[in-house]
Symmetry: C5
Subunit: 319 residues, 5 copies
């Protein structure tokens, strides 16, 4: 329960919610982590939540959205976390029921870091906290969008690392491909999370909602701005990854070309002496057959032609 | 016939429809599976359906849509089923005529599982059933969209399986290509089915229709939300499949590169001794001709050069 | 000339048009195939057509469109025909001047099958024919859109045929490429014809035109629906063709990979015995030189190493 | 100066412009080719042109656009010319200041063929010329759009020529690539010129401008229509070129495949006899060593195996 | 501080800002480069700036945008500079607080060339300077957009240089790939900077702002026009780079094809004589064994077959 922006009485039972709501200066925040059906039922009766919204808070595979009901709004969003080691992107859902004086957050897994939201609420300037629930919602969404930003930022760093390896002479292709694949997959997932947030903020701002009005309005505009930036950044990262991938392919193709030229050159340099020895290995009385002069001729031919070829290929820049 | 949400009198003849409609508390549902021309004519006369709508209910290659006529609306949609074995996606059309008090469903093939819709109607909360035809339509569309969701979900699982095989050392390319192709084709078909549903729900919600109003409205909004999610998911699956395909190609190209390097290396290691034996097979008095020292020289050369090459290629990481 | 939906007096001269128009129960349809300048001038004077519309009816490279003039509208559309043998798509332009009581169709080539339109008019339900010119226009556009549908359908069939050949073991690549190319080209042409039709129907429905109003309205909506479906189908066929093409490339690349592995394996199996014979062909007293034991050693080495390699390559699944 | 559509007094000095404007029946057209700063200043003072518009008329890298100022509008557009030999597309800017009674055209280079516009004005029907400046503007834009059309048309012809070479047996790849590249580049340039014209015509028609009203309006609609067509055509040409390019790549890949199979086959057919001769060249008493029977055995083996391989490869369709 | 467009009193302390604002004829411009927190706080108190705007002026990873607060607007934009040597594109942020009579610019790094803006202000026509802050803002944005233009222009030049190397006979692929990659990356970055500027100008023009009204309005329209052009140009450069890249790949593929044909031909020309010498090296009494006639036969065969092959390959255009 928040009173004038100060957290009082942590960890109270659901039954006390209505008591607190009786106090007009108080704003109630209630957090449910992996709630049981009972908990959801009691909180929904306490605050008069719509059964559809409650059902959505339990269902899987939601997307970020805002639903408006008569007495409250229901907001779904996703905080993301990038596992530095595996490079996998994990999205944790957080749902919020927003009534005039209460915010109920429902987390589907303990992965979502609610304490970070709490810290953000505590660190906010005093004069904002008078905005009540709107302020709490702002703090929550601001944190969510910031996780998106952090994900985009560390993906950006990873892409820069990939870039640095692009023109390496001795590449570890297998590793690079695996990381590129992980990156692209993360970008697909991130996009699925970030894109609908635009719509969420947009509809919070567009519809004239009580909680988003007044002094807090520019702050929601600010969050919206962050969402736009995250979206644009994600898109341009997709562009960059494609560019890197295609450049990687052409560079590798190029390297293969160079190798093939070298291999072919050496094959030719070996094939010609072999043909010469074949000639001097014939059981016919060719000039120099069985004589020292034949040996010198053979040796000269072998070395001469090989040297010639070597020089030619060097000139052609094949070796 | 439904009265207050309870299914009474199953399997009545067409002629009784108007009797039931005389009872103001009753809602009539009539199901036609692969109807004959006669059946369609009589039901259309009974309920005053527009000939164009009736024609559409028989015609092939419809798309999901809503047509509004003066006395009724006509809804076309597609339930989908993914054949687990062949991976093929099958779409079954279901058409619905919706008047103020009656719902007529027309199935083009028995593939569409109407019993599942029935179960959904029966399991609905009591207070919704008072919404009459709107509730029946909601149940139908909710089921249809759920089949889309299931299809997207199992396609997602299949894509994850493909992913796991991406970096396998001993791949079965032929099999992977066939499955990728089936997946991509299914996604094309699914998209053709899912995309127009957005428009269907949108136009049901936008136009102020009698049947979609009142308490049932948020439920239709909920279905709309599901449609949006299915659409977005389908799109991001398309992205993922493209990513997998391209990664597959680069991985394979990489593997081919590695093989070519190995092959080339071994070819060189064999070619050089052959050239040496050629030299010592000449019928000219080269140093060591016909003497033991020649043999040792030849043997040393062969083994030495081969060993050298082997070490060089190992260093270059070609072997 | 149509009176109450019945075709009376076929093949009358242009001069009689105004006579017929004097009869308020009559609707005049006039067909011009590859008209001379004179014919166009006289009909345009008879009905007061705008010179720009007349010019457009003669000009080449039009696109499907609707132009609205003060006394009439001018509709351009394209019927398409798919040549089954060459797989080429042929588009035949048909222009129509629509006044309140007259429809003038102008064909640029005899390719457009006007008789099919005639049959459609004759087979229409009686009560529609009272809609006058609107009905005639509907019949015309309905036929045009149906030709689009037929083209899409047969392209779909061709694509399915291509699919069946995708994973064939003994493909005729050249043939497949030629057909894929024809298909893709046809889809580009078809798209250029189908896409603007959406705009045509849309603007016929949007502007409150006299001829498209009343009872005939839902029928135009129906044609619009067909156009939407044809458009969507065309788009998803483009998707499918791309999918097929890319799969074809990966399958072929795969096949090439398999062939390269086999070739390389056989090359190795031949190269080693050759090297052995080279050894035993040297003119130096190697162990077994000129003795039977040398022959057996040579033979054993050749067969042994070859067999070893064969087994190794089989295990690696290269043979 | 035009009076009632007839060109009177060609080549008058700038100073006379205001004299002519005093005559209410006259419409003034003034053409400036590569104007000096002085000329622009005097004409701008004469007609009261906005300094920004004048600046734009001199600046490089404009795009087709319409700017509306208080007393006049400023139109920028580009005529294009396709150099038949090099295949390069050249765009020549033409700017126009349009006041109520005067049209000033400014050409940046003599490349733009102003005489063609003049001819078009002269050939127009008499009754249009009464539309004054609107008519002159129409003639200008009509000509500009026609140059776009001609460019699209000749690009289309070039693409068809490329198509014909696609499945040639003996292709000149280098030449084809150069031409494809030129084509694609021309299409990029053309698109940059054609696309903004849509906006130009659109805004001329949308804003209720004096000069575009009245009888001349449908003619501007007609130009708009041409622009739409040119745009669509350009887009579908881009599609076609991509299709051709990709087909070209698969065809070439195919040809390479065929060549590789042949080469491999011949290599095998030569390698086996070489191995046989190696066997019979050993200095060990193999069966038939130094005897006639050995020769026959060797010859039979060589010819037999080669023939066998030849037949096998023929069957596999590799030769 | 500007009075009537003339810069008076440069480098005054923050405290004097309010003094100047007391003078109704003066317009205050204040520049902060890498400001400390103190400086920002004092200027924000002096002018009553919103804390969110001040926060944005310090935060990283902004995008170009316009925020409107009650007493002022906040504009973020990016000047770009292309490093000629490395080809890297550097974007420098410049933020601006715009009140009725004051412009505060905040630079995050000294990279942004504020002196160039100053010069632009000084060189502007006198009558514009009466527009006060609007004029200053115009000068700033005009300069920013001009840097975008310069970047696009020099990227264009670089692309033309790439083009010239496309069909070179002796290409430096590695270098070309690196430059293409840099180009594409620069275009991605440039796009991220240029695209949002469209929105910035658009919203400055759309909302009826005090500072953008009056005589200065067409000048802002002009900047908007520049932004549109820069955007379009950037897009078509992306197109061109893709075209170049793909052409580069096909050209290289072609060159590889040619090389492979040559290599294969020479391999065949060497392989056949080797097989012949193998034949004449057998220790069996073949015709001509140990006789002069054998030598001539062998020599003729070798030279003859090689010559034949040479001619054949020449004809096939393989050599």
């Amino acid at each position: 329960m928040y009173r004038n922006g100060i957290l009082e009485d942590e960890g109270f039972p659901i039954a006390k919610v209505s008591d607190y709501l009786a106090d007009p200066t108080a704003v109630v925040w209630f957090d449910l982590c992996e709630p049981t059906a009972d908990e959801l039922t009691s909180i929904s009766q306490e605050l008069g939540l719509h059964p559809l919204a409650v059902e959505d808070a339990v269902a899987e595979h939601q997307r970020a959205k805002v639903d408006r009901y008569q007495t409250h709004i229901f907001v779904t969003s996703y905080g993301v976390k990038l596992d530095e080691k595996t490079g996998e992107l994990q999205a944790d859902e957080i749902d919020a029921f927003v009534t005039d004086r209460a915010l109920v957050t429902v987390r589907r897994s303990p992965g979502f870091d609610i304490d970070a939201v709490l810290r953000r609420w505590d660190e906010a300037p005093r004069d904002l906290t008078s905005c009540g629930v709107g302020f709490l919602l702002y703090g929550l969404l601001d944190y969510v969008v910031d996780t998106h930003f952090e994900a985009v930022e560390s993906l950006d760093t990873q892409i820069e690392n990939l870039e640095d390896q692009l023109f390496d002479d001795n590449p570890r292709d297998q590793d690079m491909q695996r990381r590129t694949f992980e990156l692209r997959k993360s970008l697909v997932v991130l996009r699925r999370v970030v894109l609908p947030m635009r719509e969420v903020l947009n509809s919070l701002l567009r519809r004239d909602l009580h909680v988003v009005g007044g002094e807090i309005l520019p702050y929601f505009h600010d969050v919206y701005d962050h969402v736009l930036r995250a979206t644009e950044w994600t898109e341009s990262l997709r562009d960059l990854v494609t560019t890197i991938l295609e450049t990687h392919l052409t560079v590798r193709g190029n390297r293969l070309n160079v190798i093939m030229k070298q291999v072919t050159s050496w094959a030719a340099i070996i094939a010609v002496p072999t043909a010469v020895t074949g000639f001097y290995g014939q059981n016919v009385p060719y000039p120099g057959f069985g004589k020292m002069v034949g040996f010198w001729a053979s040796a000269c031919l072998m070395i001469g032609i090989s040297a010639c070829l070597f020089v030619i290929f060097r000139r052609k820049d094949w070796l």
